[in-house]
Symmetry: C2
């Protein structure tokens, strides 16, 4: 679906898309990522028996937001990363101007795809998805977390565990949480079910990011596809730096367990895939 949406067929009312630029958009987004966010969105909808083209579209949209955030974060003025998933970052493979505009295009297109009637016939569902996505990606969450991360890096002061947990919830957790929330929005899930899924999404997002911090310390450069140990060099707000490796591992495992037990309100066989996702989030090697 992501591939098809980024295939360059102009949408109704659109002009032709510049082709070199479209290549850069595809480079940034179709690069063998884990696609964890679309996976969570699709599997959460499936928990309610919903499988549709529209769910795949919403999944593609959240991946676009994720990809845009990586492209902008990698820019020289921000993290200045040359490698991402073992390949040159977008501004290295193309140029900085292109990378900035690729991010802008992906961010905007995510809302286009989500608000399109092809995503759901009910405009209330589409408007709710757009609102939840914009909140997760915006100044109160993903962008705000990036800002706090940047400020922490400049301050060179040590970070309290509470600060690290908040930054990570904003920067990474919110979009993972949205992915789960979106499945519940498609399903028009009741309040109790939404609360359970929200608990799952929050714990999973936190576990995922702590696992990332641990991987940064443990992994060697080749396995991770980016320079290991880089976070520490930069005074990034990581939980390993704030509480140490052992405590971070304990927290990671407790969060994964919290995510798994949040799903106990669902029949075991239906929740199995999402529970497995929580295990994967902490056991992965990259």
């Amino acid at each position: 679906m992501l591939d098809r949406l980024l295939s360059g067929t102009p949408l109704p009312g659109e002009n032709a898309r510049p082709s070199r630029f479209l290549g850069a958009v595809r480079y940034a987004c179709l690069n063998g990522g884990k696609r964890l966010r679309p996976f969570l969105l699709v599997e959460t909808a499936r928990l309610f028996g919903i499988e549709s083209e529209g769910v795949l579209r919403a999944g593609a949209a959240v991946e676009m937001i994720h990809c845009y955030s990586l492209v902008h974060d990698d820019l020289p003025a921000l993290d200045n990363d040359d490698l991402r998933r073992g390949r040159p970052t977008t501004h290295k493979a193309y140029d900085e101007a292109t990378a900035i505009l690729v991010g802008d295009a992906l961010l905007t297109y995510a809302f286009d795809v989500t608000a399109d009637p092809a995503t759901d016939a009910d405009p209330a569902i589409r408007a709710a998805l757009v609102l939840a996505l914009a909140r997760a990606a915006g100044i109160g969450n993903m962008v705000g977390g990036q800002v706090m991360d940047l400020e922490a890096e400049l301050s060179q002061a040590p970070h309290s565990p509470e600060h690290v947990i908040q930054v990570q919830a904003m920067k990474t957790g919110a979009l993972l949480h949205y992915s789960v929330e979106a499945g519940a929005i498609f399903a028009r899930a009741d309040e109790k079910t939404r609360t359970a899924l929200s608990r799952y999404g929050k714990a999973l997002g936190a576990a995922f990011q702590v696992a990332d911090d641990i991987l940064d310390v443990e992994a060697d450069e080749a396995a991770l596809g980016k320079r290991a140990g880089k976070d520490a060099d930069r005074n990034k707000a990581t939980l390993v730096a704030a509480v140490g490796l052992d405590a971070a591992r304990k927290r990671r495992d407790a969060l994964a367990q919290e995510a798994i037990s949040a799903l106990d309100v669902f029949p075991a066989e239906r929740a199995a895939v999402l529970k497995e996702a929580a295990r994967f989030a902490v056991a992965r090697k990259n």
Copy 2:
């Protein structure tokens, strides 16, 4: 409304907003711009007797998109402008990382504000606004036009009038057209009325940009607040470069007339303000 929306009061479900960053967001967006887009949106809705808080919110949202595009366009990797409306550009007043994130935050927040139930009780209106806004701002229009502009600058080849007209329609015209379209969406205007307004929006957008090209050549630096003649230095796709100053002036005036006559389907007294806007678009000095 824009001021209030950018006042830093966290939205429901949001975390605190980093305050230096919020200052940068406000710097980028509350800077004495003409607010032409919100004006067009509000006045088009008023044409149908609609005046609401929600219309003002949608107007603030389109201004956020406009501001984000200026902040990103001014970056060193793109136009590398130090001055905007006589003040240091956002990356000069703050720093490049902040400017990139300010743009991202404004772009995302525009969709948040538009999709919020406070904008209209009817989710069909909100979803339609989001979709039209994302199409106008995205790869097929505003971002795509910026890409084509950038490619033209690099090529150093002369531009055909047709190419210039297309780039300008995408880069500047589409968001002005959206502003008018949004008023019609709020009003649930019928097909015939929408077509007339669309004609107005397209002609106005084109007239506005040609007027800008002419101003760039004519105006002295102090009056315009940016370095005059800069477009020509850079092989920007301008209509003056493509057809000469006299032909550009003729086209500008013909487009303004086209915009004005498109409104003849409305009673004269109700359409007076929008007609005046078309006259302003070509007569302004900055």
